[in-house]
């Protein structure tokens, strides 16, 4: 059996007294993309830096392509890890043009004379050959990010590390770049680790996800698993809108018998799209939020509040009484 492109066991990183990461386990197979989702300060960047070899481990170990690269004693230097890093703020060298920047990793891997033409070819394939002779301060943020991506691609790594590559781009550019990342990575057959605080990006892009909070793993699984069966309220709210209602163990929610999954421990988590307007349950509209593709109503109901999703434009106003229904719910443990 082939070793995973990346595997980490009990990864711990500390800065003096502060523990930035504790006991992080992860595995990424080649061709697979793992999204690391967490709010700022949760340790995403630190995790990527540990895998790239920029920071030492205080505990645990990291293997890339079946080879031990990091543990508290061993640390293979970054240049011998065969990873391609796309930095959050691009990290383009101000004294090099785009083509020189992309040729840099080629030259380092001993491509010599062919480096420049090869780099130019890569820029052409990415459709940015017009940037070849520009310096970073002559490019827009999106252009810089593409060059930064090209530099990582030129390394032909077994593993890509993306540190919030779209964090500073506006929305249209963001989706274009995401498509590009996806296509390039798949055509190279390389594994990827994608750090982000944007749940939408992570759900859309990833084969599997890792939720990080205060340097520890909260949950991991496929996007569907993580979205539909969050382990706690925090994980639920990180991945999308959710309401919480008390449930009677194994039987009913808001007095209605429905199919319940998860641990039978008393809190039912309900995604807006698991509900609809009209039905045997009753509530009072508190707030109406028009989302474009649908409208969300926050209803005050027995036992709390619930967000109900409805197709189309708003048809109720705050204060209106309405019937509603819930098709399913996910039970989570009370802390």
């Amino acid at each position: 059996m082939k070793a995973p492109a990346l595997s980490g066991t009990g990864i711990g990183v500390g800065y003096g007294e502060i523990e930035a990461l504790t006991g992080v386990d992860l595995a990424v197979d080649s061709g697979e993309l793992l999204a690391v989702l967490g709010p700022s300060g949760s340790g995403k960047t630190t995790l990527l830096h540990a895998i790239a070899g920029f920071v030492p481990l205080v505990s645990g170990s990291i293997e890339i392509d079946g080879q031990l690269v990091s543990d508290p004693v061993v640390s293979v230097p970054p240049e011998r890890r065969n990873v391609g890093v796309v930095f959050q703020h691009h990290a383009l060298w101000p004294h090099l043009t785009a083509v020189e920047t992309v040729a840099f990793p080629l030259r380092r891997s001993g491509r010599g004379r062919d480096s420049l033409p090869e780099a130019a070819g890569l820029l052409e394939r990415l459709g940015i050959s017009h940037l070849a002779d520009r310096f970073p301060d002559e490019m827009s943020g999106g252009e810089q990010q593409r060059v930064s991506l090209a530099r990582a691609l030129a390394r032909h790594p077994v593993l890509f590390l993306f540190d919030e590559p779209t964090a500073h781009l506006d929305v249209p550019l963001r989706s274009a770049l995401l498509e590009e990342i996806d296509r390039q990575r798949r055509s190279d057959g390389a594994a990827g680790l994608y750090a982000t605080h944007d749940a939408g990006e992570a759900l859309a892009l990833a084969d599997r996800m890792l939720l990080l909070r205060n340097g520890g793993v909260v949950q991991s699984g496929t996007p569907v698993e993580v979205y539909e069966q969050p382990v706690d309220v925090w994980a639920a709210e990180l991945t999308g809108p959710a309401s919480v209602l008390p449930a009677e163990v194994g039987s009913s929610i808001a007095g209605r018998q429905i199919e319940l999954s998860g641990s039978p421990d008393g809190i039912a988590l309900i995604r807006p799209e698991w509900t609809c307007l009209g039905g045997p349950l009753s509530g009072v509209v508190e707030r109406v939020s028009y989302r474009g593709t649908r409208t969300e109503y926050r209803l005050r109901v027995a036992g709390g509040a619930v967000i109900v999703s409805d197709d189309g434009t708003p048809r109720l106003q705050p204060g209106d009484e309405t019937g509603w229904d819930v098709r399913r719910a996910h039970l989570i443990s009370r802390h």
Partner: protein, 537 residues
């Protein structure tokens, strides 16, 4: 009801005219007089007079060598403190910067007291450096004095890009440590290195205190010491004409260097603000022995000489062994005669007056910039870059007619030279006042004047305090201009110390130098203590 003024008058010409007046009075007019005088004397002929050419060459090569050595030391120290995890790094930074506030001639005296024959080192080990008096000593001590400047410039350069993403990007792209240093760090640092060298060169060129203490006794003359000899002793025929020509030469070289440094490397502009890295970056420990080497350097160049000077001040006379049983306070009592006390009072008064006037002028220039966009930054920088020797001679030519041998002419020179030290912090803190804060005050009902007093002024206070103290710090030990402008009966403290040195009384000189260093050190500590606390975000 808009009873008084409903519309504010915009773009009043008053302050701008005052800005022009300041620059003309302090620099343009005197330097113009210098040029006219020099041309009248025949610049070209003067340059080829034997002594002038030798002095000019000496100035050029000492400055070039000192700047190179200083850059080497400064850049190495900057790499160490900015790129590696150094235990006690703030102490090391303080020790590096400390050299900057030590008056150069005090530094020269302390090296002499430590490493010259009969110095502390000789006393303890029997080894001494006879070469200290002469060209080698001059270069070495200037280099040590200028190294902190190079350090500051290079460290600012290292801090100006995202630490350490750009270097990590190179590592991730397959470059090892040395390739990263060669291909990324050093090329990106090139502007800072060049600027560091040019600033070091300009500072070395205007150095007077070091060559007068270490060069003159050995017959080694630079432009600054030759001008001093010509003016102070009028020892040569046509002495003053020659001095004017040399002063112009100094001014031209220094301004050309400053111009290149400013145009190509943006020395005058503040370094781009560092973008904070989201991931904290633990630094690696430095290569073995580097920290030790840095402390040995600082110990031999700063700490030990300071000790040597203090011991000499306590020793009855040179040649007497410096063991504690021989120590005496006699030198201090001898040093403090009425002339010294008067000079001390005069220096303190001049320094306070210079600080107040420089702050007022700088404040005016800053407000001119806010109203008309013209900041006179270049002119202020040029005045600072002008060697004190040249500036003093120019001001003597410009105002000597009326003010010769008065303290007022010294004060004018101090304000002209040190204006930049008040201007920089003041302009920086003024730029840091967000215009929206003032708009918010106006929107909350404050008049323009009220908003200025309630918002702008408190926010600029750190700049005012820092600027004022810096001017005081440098004015209180100023030697170069004072030695050329003072008359009988209005010597400054530094001039008195130089007199004792030239009369050949090393122990009393040392006592006075220690005392001056204490005054300067106290002001520096105050500056450090009042330094604006870093604002948390």
């Amino acid at each position: 009801m808009a009873s008084r003024t409903s519309v504010e008058r915009l773009g009043s010409r008053g302050p701008e005219a005052l800005g022009v007046l300041i620059v003309v009075a302090l620099a343009a007019y005197p330097v113009g007089r210098l040029v006219v005088e020099a041309v009248g004397d025949g610049v070209a002929d003067g340059l080829w007079r034997g002594g002038v050419g030798t002095a000019a060459l000496n100035s050029l090569w000492t400055s070039a060598s000192a700047a190179s050595l200083a850059l080497l030391a400064g850049a190495a120290l900057a790499l160490l403190t900015e790129r590696f995890r150094v235990p006690g790094v703030s102490l090391m930074r303080a020790a590096i910067i400390a050299t900057l506030v030590v008056p150069p001639f005090v530094s020269a005296l302390s090296w002499h007291a430590t490493y010259a024959p009969f110095g502390l080192f000789d006393d303890a080990t029997g080894v001494s450096a006879a070469w200290l008096e002469g060209r080698v000593g001059v270069v070495a001590v200037i280099a040590v004095n200028v190294a902190p400047l190079a350090y500051l410039v290079v460290a600012a350069g290292l801090r100006s890009w995202r630490v350490p993403d750009l270097e990590w990007a190179a590592r991730a792209a397959g470059a090892d440590r040395t390739a990263t240093l060669r291909l990324v760090t050093l090329p990106m640092l090139r502007p800072a290195l060049a600027a560091g060298w040019l600033i070091g060169f300009a500072a070395s060129l205007s150095s007077f205190g070091v060559p007068v203490v270490l060069g003159t006794p050995a017959g080694f003359e630079t432009l600054t010491t030759r001008v001093y000899r010509a003016v102070a002793f009028a020892a040569m025929p046509d002495a003053f004409e020659e001095a004017v020509i040399m002063a112009l030469l100094l001014a031209v070289i220094a301004l050309a260097v400053a111009l290149v440094a400013d145009a190509r490397f943006a020395v005058a502009r503040p370094a781009p603000r560092q973008v904070r890295s989201d991931g904290r970056s633990p630094r690696r420990p430095p290569p073995g022995g580097a920290v030790g080497a840095a402390w040995v350097y600082l110990g031999l160049t700063v700490i030990l000489p300071g000790l040597g000077l203090a011991v000499r001040a306590l020793t009855p006379s040179v040649g007497v062994s410096a063991v504690p049983t021989n120590w005496t306070l006699g030198n201090f009592t001898a040093a403090f005669d009425s002339r010294t006390w008067e000079a001390l009072g005069r220096s303190a008064l001049l320094a306070v007056a210079a600080a107040v006037l420089a702050l007022a002028a700088a404040g005016l220039l800053v407000s001119v910039r806010q109203s008309s966009g013209r900041g006179w930054d270049g002119a202020v920088l040029a005045m600072f870059a002008l060697p004190g020797t040249a500036l003093a001679l120019a001001i003597s030519l410009g105002y000597g007619r009326w003010l010769a041998n008065t303290a007022a002419i010294i004060l004018i020179a101090y304000v002209a030279k040190l204006l930049a030290l008040a201007h920089r912090p003041l302009a920086a803190s003024a730029a840091g006042v967000d215009r929206d804060l003032i708009r918010a005050a106006r929107a909350a009902g404050a008049s323009a004047r009220r908003a200025w007093a309630a918002v702008s002024l408190p926010l600029m206070r750190p700049g005012l305090v820092a600027g004022g103290l810096l001017v005081f710090l440098f004015a209180v030990h100023e030697l170069t201009m004072s030695s050329l402008l003072h008359g009988p009966g209005n010597e400054t403290l530094a001039v008195v110390i130089l007199d004792y040195q030239q009369l050949g009384d090393p122990t009393v000189t040392a006592a006075l130098a220690v005392m001056l260093a204490l005054v300067v050190g106290a002001a520096a500590l105050l500056l450090l203590w009042l330094r604006p606390r870093r604002v948390r975000r």
